[in-house]
């Protein structure tokens, strides 16, 4: 009896592995192996025809840390994250509160907020080009109506990164809104009635009851927004190409540039390793800290 049971169990285990193998094969080829290969590449020098690639230890990292452009790009990305994450999350919350309340034209409002989410980033960049172009851009025409001097939004270091941030916020806020909206709809209406009976103002109700209940959603969105602040760079290709003088260049764009425009794979690999380490820390944060709190759902 136990032997039959054992055979059955072994049969099921083999089935399990067989079912998994295609996915594992693909994950190995396009996630696990490349991650390790990136680490290896980052430790070897850039091979040329005369000097074959050789093991250089952390030399590529030192070279990277001596590169002022790297620090500028890292700083840009930090600003990008610190601006787009809070602004798009706050807008998302506001949009969700509005889309969930009994306002007129609610379905129009919802659609309008969400629509940018389904557009490709490249298309979004093309749309915004119309706003930013120096000679006839919409922003400058509006400015001119108020007597402001024209600004070359994408062409000067002071404004280029901000222009990039605006497009990202525009694209992301509506996406995050739907998560808040879903969470808002799970809050029982009696809570609101109870608060009204107690004489709590709408602001107190929102701050004391709604926001704490939305905390798990907020953390979930936060992790996604952090990942996106590395990932969302497509619009750079259309709007600024990282310029002028690297003022709007972000890490992933710089990785792409190093690897496919300058053909400097080792430094691209070293940067990738740093980004992966950051992502790993984020993953650990999510699994070890957030999941414990979020699980009460």
């Amino acid at each position: 009896m136990t032997q039959a049971f054992n055979i059955e169990r072994r049969r099921r285990a083999i089935h399990g592995w067989l079912l998994l193998s295609p996915a594992l094969l693909m994950l190995t080829a396009f996630a696990f192996y490349p991650s390790l290969a990136t680490l290896v590449t980052s430790l070897w020098s850039r091979g040329t025809r005369r000097n074959p690639s050789e093991f250089v230890g952390l030399e590529n990292y030192r070279y990277l840390f001596d590169d002022p452009t790297f620090w500028q790009v890292a700083g840009n990305n930090l600003i990008y994250a610190l601006v787009t994450i809070p602004v798009s999350m706050m807008l998302a919350l506001m949009m969700a509160l509005w889309a969930n309340s009994k306002l007129p034209a609610r379905s129009f409002i919802r659609t309008a907020y969400f629509t940018p989410t389904v557009l490709p980033m490249i298309a979004a960049a093309n749309l915004w080009l119309f706003f930013y172009t120096p000679s006839f851009g919409i922003l400058n025409q509006i400015g001119a109506a108020f007597g402001a001097a024209p600004v070359n939004w994408l062409g000067q270091p002071e404004t280029a990164l901000w222009a990039i941030c605006v497009v990202t916020i525009w694209k992301e806020a509506g996406f995050f809104m739907i998560f808040y909206l879903a969470a808002l709809q799970t809050i029982p209406p009696d809570l609101k009635e109870a608060a009204e009976i107690e004489g709590a103002s709408r602001w107190t109700y929102t701050r004391r009851i709604v926001l704490p209940l939305l905390m798990p959603t907020t953390l979930f969105i936060l992790v996604n927004a952090m990942i996106n602040s590395v990932k969302l760079i497509d619009h750079l290709f259309i709007l600024t190409k990282g310029g002028p003088s690297d003022s709007s260049k972000l890490i992933l764009y710089y990785i792409w540039e190093n690897a496919f425009a300058y053909f400097d794979r080792p430094s691209a690999a070293a940067m990738t390793v740093l980004v992966l380490a950051l992502m790993g820390a984020l993953a650990a944060f999510q699994f070890l800290v957030l999941d414990r709190r979020v699980h009460y759902r």
């Binding site: 169990r9 099921r12 285990a13 089935h15 399990g16 079912l19 998994l20 295609p22 094969l25 693909m26 994950l27 396009f30 996630a31 192996y33 490349p34 991650s35 290969a37 990136t38 590449t41 949009m95 509005w98 306002l103 007129p104 409002i109 659609t111 309008a112 907020y113 969400f114 629509t115 940018p116 389904v118 490709p120 490249i122 298309a123 979004a124 093309n126 749309l127 119309f130 172009t133 006839f136 919409i138 525009w170 739907i178 998560f179 879903a182 979930f220 996604n224 990942i227 590395v230 497509d234 290709f237 259309i238 992933l252 990785i255 690897a259 496919f260 990738t272 992502m279 790993g280 993953a283």
Partner: protein
């Protein structure tokens, strides 16, 4: 008075939010000099679309994108169904450790691994092919997770009943689990198609000929300053590219939003 402020602000923000889109639509149907000078009464024209259509092999790009999203979806359905089922309903040693390893891929973005993924694609002979664009996305950790959750909620009785009837493991999967997870498949399909219709960086790297380029890459080349087309024509091309997905979204809005939620809320 105060109670009109909030609806007004909400509607104002909504108008602000779709204004780039509305403006591009308007500009696409007007002559460029009318468009940049906001002549609201200017006559409509389809010239921009004619110019844009003649300027690049759009039909091919559309076809490539269509083949690409279909291929990725088919690959994801197959791989994630099998793997999700293995994680949900089979038991073997090391399963949970393996699951965590798979979840790691949620954070190892294919976008970040472009340098080495390019070499892998090259060594597999996948450069400049639609399969090469799709391959890194097929075994998606996210999809595996999603299918595992869906399969876990299938009652065990149904599974056992099917086995008593003589179904093998794959038979049970096909007859019991896949039909039960239909809503999850629909949600996953919508998210996957929307994501890969819009994806840009990896396709840009892998492709280098019109016969494989998807729409997003085609659009970025078309709008490049070197190509010398004016902004009304760029608007027309952009409108053309986003129209299918946008129309689909407006028709199936409820399903779309629901799909993103199912896919996002863990």
């Amino acid at each position: 008075m105060i109670r009109y402020i909030e609806p007004a602000a909400a509607i104002l923000l909504a108008i602000l939010w779709i204004s780039p889109l509305v403006f591009a639509f308007w500009a696409a149907f007007h002559d460029v000099s009318d468009a940049v000078n906001f002549r609201l009464t200017a006559p409509l024209t389809l010239d921009n679309f004619r110019t844009a259509w003649a300027g690049a092999p759009w039909l091919g790009y559309f076809l490539n994108t269509f083949v690409l999203v279909t291929l990725i979806l088919a690959g994801q359905f197959l791989l994630c169904t099998l793997a999700g089922f293995a994680f949900a309903q089979t038991e073997f040693r090391g399963r949970d450790a393996l699951f965590i390893l798979v979840l790691m891929q949620l954070f190892i973005l294919p976008e970040v691994l472009i340098v080495e993924n390019y070499r892998v694609a090259a060594s597999l002979g996948l450069l400049d092919s639609i399969l090469g664009i799709g391959a890194p996305y097929m075994a998606s950790a996210f999809g595996i997770f999603l299918m595992r959750q869906a399969f876990k909620s299938v009652p065990k009785d149904l599974d056992e009943a099917a086995r008593v009837e003589g179904c093998g493991t794959l038979g049970v999967l096909w007859r019991v689990y896949v039909p039960a997870a239909r809503p999850t498949y629909l949600a996953y399909a919508l998210v996957s198609v929307a994501t890969h219709w819009n994806n840009f960086l990896w396709p840009l790297i892998v492709t280098n000929s019109p016969s494989t380029r998807p729409l997003t890459v085609g659009l970025s080349l078309f709008g490049a300053p070197e190509s010398g087309v004016d902004i009304a024509v760029i608007s027309a091309a952009t409108v053309m590219v986003i129209a299918p997905l946008l129309i689909g979204f407006l028709i199936f809005q409820r399903q779309f939003v629901q799909a993103f939620l199912t896919a996002g809320v863990k």
